[in-house]
Each structure stands twice: as C-alpha cells, then as structure tokens.
C-alpha cells in the first residue's frame, strides 16, 4: 500500500473545558463525530469503519460496539487503540491500513473524555508499574517527566529558562485560539519560574491542564477525499515505536522513541521534519517539545531551546510550532488532546485555520507520545491541490 492513497477528509474538536459535569463520554463522542462528518461532507451511512480509545472506568469492555450502537453505525471494521497520548496518531495509520486491506472505505477515529474533579477515578491496576513504582510515592505522570527533564538538564547544561520558554511559546500561540483554555492569558518566562515546582525541575506552568473534551478525524481514500472542493490532506508516512511502560525501563535516556517513529515516517514520506512548515508536536510537558525537536533532527542534542530562540514559531514564522497553542496552551482533553495536534495540522494544510492560518503551509509533522516517552507515533501529512 501507498500511504498517499489515503487522506484525512474531516476533522473536529470540542473546545477543552475544565469540567464537564452532567455529561457522558458517549454524548461528547456523538457531538464531535457529527461535527467531523459535517466537516468532511460525509453522511453517517458512508462511515463503515470505527476506531475508538479505551474508556477507563466507564466502559471497560466492548467499547467499539458500545460507541457504534450509540452513533447508529454498523461498521465492517472496528478497533480500539490504546497508546496513551499517541492514540490519535496511531489511529490514523491503522484506519488507512484497514481501508487498504479492503475492510472499510471511510473510518471514523474518535476520542472524548469527561472530567468531574469530584469523582477522580483511581485505576484498579495490578501491573508492574503499580507494584514496583507506585508504593514509592511515584504516582502520576509529573514525576516521570520531571525525571526526563532532570536528566536533560544534567546532560546538556540546559536551564530552567530553556524549559520555561516552551510553555511561553505555547501560550503565545494560544492567544489566537479562542477555544484555548488559556486564551487571554499569556505568560512570561518569569511567570513560569515563579509558579510552584511540582516535581523538580518542573514548574506548574510547564504541565498541561487536564480538561474534558473530544476530537474526531475521518480517514478515507484520497480519491474520495478529492471530491471535497477544498484542498485535501494526504497521509505520506507513519512511524510507530513502543519501548517501555515505566520510565525506569526506557530504552535510552539520550533519545526518545519519537526519534525512531519520526525517522520511519520520514523515510516513507520522502521528506523530513525540516521540510515541514507545520510542526504539530505533542506537548504534555515543556521537556517533551525540546526532546521531540531534537529527536526530529531539527537541531543537535541539547540545543532545542536555542532552536526555539532562533525561530519565530508563530503562524507568521517560517515554521510554526503548535499554532493552536498546543496542549500546554489549549488544555489537555485526555487522549483527545493528542488528536488535537492532527486536527490543527489538517486545518493548517487545508488553509482554514481561522485566526491563525500560516501562509503556504504544505507539509506537517504530527507527533503523539504516550506514557513517559514510551509510545511514539509520527505522521507526515501533505496538502493536495
């Protein structure tokens, strides 16, 4: 199969909200799926494939069937992807592969989550990370990303200001996105450094804000997508690499699995990160953006902050980094936050990113990252027409 025979025909995203009392995941999935179908100009009856994510604590089993029934779909192909923050990107190439295998023609990939702070769900894990790490007071993601950052600072002599700059740039771009949780709230490097240290060396403002929300992407054949009078967005390459669950078992502390995922996607696409005008890079924490810029080969190890200082990463720059504000600027709607990076890349390449459109954007690199730089997926996208 050739990736370029497959395209993203429609995208949608619900604005992230801090809370979502009284709603359900299925309700959000319904809303965002309808928005994506409308965007694609595709009727529900034309959707014959469905890919969903895990619904922790809500629908432990039979998730695709539950979602299909709610949406009134009877897909000839259904699946679940469980790659943390790489779930959305992982869905896109699987959708194309399912179409190539003749199992469907038009696949809806959808993720949504509710958030009720009163009812925090503690997972009933009995796996190695629960047994060998949680009893040490190592719960949650902050501590693990803090250790990635600590090692980065030690290896490269990078500074707290370098990390803070990532959060500042995200907020800058979020000022053009009315849907962003931090719209109207720009920050400075000083603001970041004055925010409380959560786990050294990470400050609170270097950590994504958990939100409720949803996102959906419809993948179909390039031929079908070309019926849309707008420019379409073809898939050109997809790379994936899963190396560990717990950071203690990382393959390396010098690079992340994104390096392999991006290299694989680039090789398939015939172009690399340096040829992309849109960098839609997964950014759950400041450190992840620095590591990803280096994994993508855009700069030498330890020099990502310099790269940021050298480049205007707004939509007016030569290369724009997370023009929607990223998850650091928008808020993170759980797994849908990762899919938001695809939604934004598609809008930029189509030329309909209202209020923040980059001129002449033709190629995009989209990354997804799950657990602690554990599950990596990279997509190369290109505008057609």
């Amino acid at each position: 199969m050739r990736w370029s025979d497959y395209a993203v025909a429609g995208v949608a995203e619900l604005p992230p909200k801090r809370t979502s009392s009284g709603t359900t995941t299925l309700e959000l999935i319904g809303r965002v799926s309808a928005m994506a179908a409308h965007d694609a100009g595709i009727a529900p009856a034309d959707i014959d494939g469905l890919i969903v994510g895990p619904h922790v604590g809500e629908t432990p089993q039979h998730v695709p069937a539950t979602v299909a029934e709610y949406l009134g779909l009877r897909p000839t192909f259904a699946d679940i992807v469980d790659l943390g923050g790489a779930t959305g990107t992982g869905m896109v190439w699987r959708a194309a592969a399912a179409i190539a295998a003749g199992q469907a023609e038009t696949v809806l990939c959808v993720l949504a989550n509710t958030r009720d702070p009163e009812r925090s769900l503690r997972s009933p894990n009995r796996n190695p990370i629960r047994e060998f790490e949680v009893p040490y007071g190592a719960s949650g993601a902050n501590q693990a990303y803090a250790m990635v950052a600590q090692r980065y600072l030690a290896d490269h002599g990078a500074t707290a200001e370098d990390l803070a700059l990532v959060a500042v740039r995200a907020r800058e771009n979020a000022q053009r996105n009315r849907d962003a949780v931090f719209y109207g709230r720009p920050i400075t490097v000083e603001d970041v450094l004055e925010s409380p240290v959560v786990a050294s060396p990470l400050h609170l403002l270097e950590v994504v804000m958990p939100c409720a929300g949803g996102a959906a992407v419809i993948v179909t054949t390039a031929e079908r997508a070309a019926r849309d009078p707008r420019a379409s967005v073809a898939l050109q390459g997809a790379g994936e690499y899963i190396t560990h669950r717990a950071l203690s078992h990382a393959e390396s502390f010098d690079r992340s699995p994104l390096a392999t995922a991006i290299a694989r996607a680039s090789e398939q696409a015939g172009f690399g990160a340096a040829d992309a005008q849109v960098l839609s890079l997964y950014d759950c924490y400041s450190i992840v953006v620095l590591v990803t810029l280096e994994d993508a080969g855009l700069c030498e190890r330890g020099t990502a902050a310099e790269w940021l200082r050298r480049n205007d990463t707004s939509p007016e720059g030569n290369v724009t980094l997370n023009p929607h504000g990223g998850q650091l600027g928008c808020g993170q709607s759980d797994l849908a936050g990762g899919m938001g990076h695809i939604v934004e890349a598609v809008r930029q390449l189509r030329g309909d990113a209202v209020g923040r459109q980059m001129q002449g954007a033709r190629r995009a690199l989209v990354t997804g990252n799950g657990a602690t730089l554990s599950e990596a997926v990279a997509l190369m996208l290109e505008r057609r027409g």
């Binding site: 040490y136 719960s139 609170l204």
Partner: protein, 138 residues
C-alpha cells in the same frame, strides 16, 4: 482513617503476586532480589516468568549488590497521590544497578542527590520499600 504515616488518605499499599512474594519479603529484610537468566546470563528487575531478553524460562533469583548509580531523579513537592502529601518533599530516582537492571526507588535524605551519584541500599524501614542512600566519597 489515618495510616502509619499520619495521612488521612490511605496509601496504595504493596501488591504482590505469588511470583513476586519473595522479592517483597527480601525488600522488608533490606535485600534487593534480582533475577538472572541461566541461558543468556542477563540480569533483570522486576521478577518475571521468563527472561525478557531471550525468553528462556530458566531464570533464578539472587541477592543483588544493592549498589548503583543515579540515572535521574526528582524531588517531589506535589505528589501525584494525596497520600504522600505530608511526606513531601521526598526524592525518587531511577537507579542503574551494578548488575545492569534499572529500578525506581527512594533516595534519602531528600533533595540531596544529583545525576551520576553512587548509591547503596540503606536499611529497610516500615514501608517495606527499597530506600537508597548516596555514597559520599572520602
């Protein structure tokens, strides 16, 4: 209900499986149990039903040296679980053991380590978890 640490939120306690019981028993005695593959020689942490390198099922437990080096660490001021709030700040680290495997553990005293420090297993405490201390040279 307050637990031993005085916190009002109960801590997620130790969980074990029949395969890992000996590991946690050793931990409570201040020993760090590792596994060694009898076919390829690979050492591994945590205990598994097979060698994660060659998939041999001939793996045996042995007492590790308890010595290693800090790969990275963090001083936690805002724990991810409220049960540890009153203990903060505390330090967790990823330690590469002399035998090769890495593990996550606590390092005492808190907020006093850097990347690359040599550490050794300290005396066990009531938690039954592994706590390391920095080996100061000279």
């Amino acid at each position: 209900m307050p637990d031993a640490s005085g916190s009002s939120v109960p801590r997620p306690g130790l969980v074990t499986t029949p395969l890992t019981q000996a590991y946690w028993q050793a931990a409570s005695e201040g020993r760090l149990l590792l596994q060694r593959c009898l076919d390829c020689g690979q050492a591994q942490h945590y205990p598994r039903s097979l060698c994660a390198k060659c998939w041999s099922r001939q793996v045996e437990s042995f007492d590790g040296s308890g010595r290693g080096r800090i790969v990275t660490f963090t001083d936690i001021t805002m724990p991810g679980h409220p049960a540890w709030l009153e203990e903060a700040p505390y330090t967790i680290a990823i330690i590469e053991l002399e035998e090769g495997p890495r593990l996550l553990a606590r390092v005492d005293p808190p907020t006093a380590v850097t990347v690359g420090d040599l550490v050794r297993l300290a005396n066990p405490d009531r938690d039954g978890i592994h706590r390391f201390e920095v080996i100061r040279e000279g």
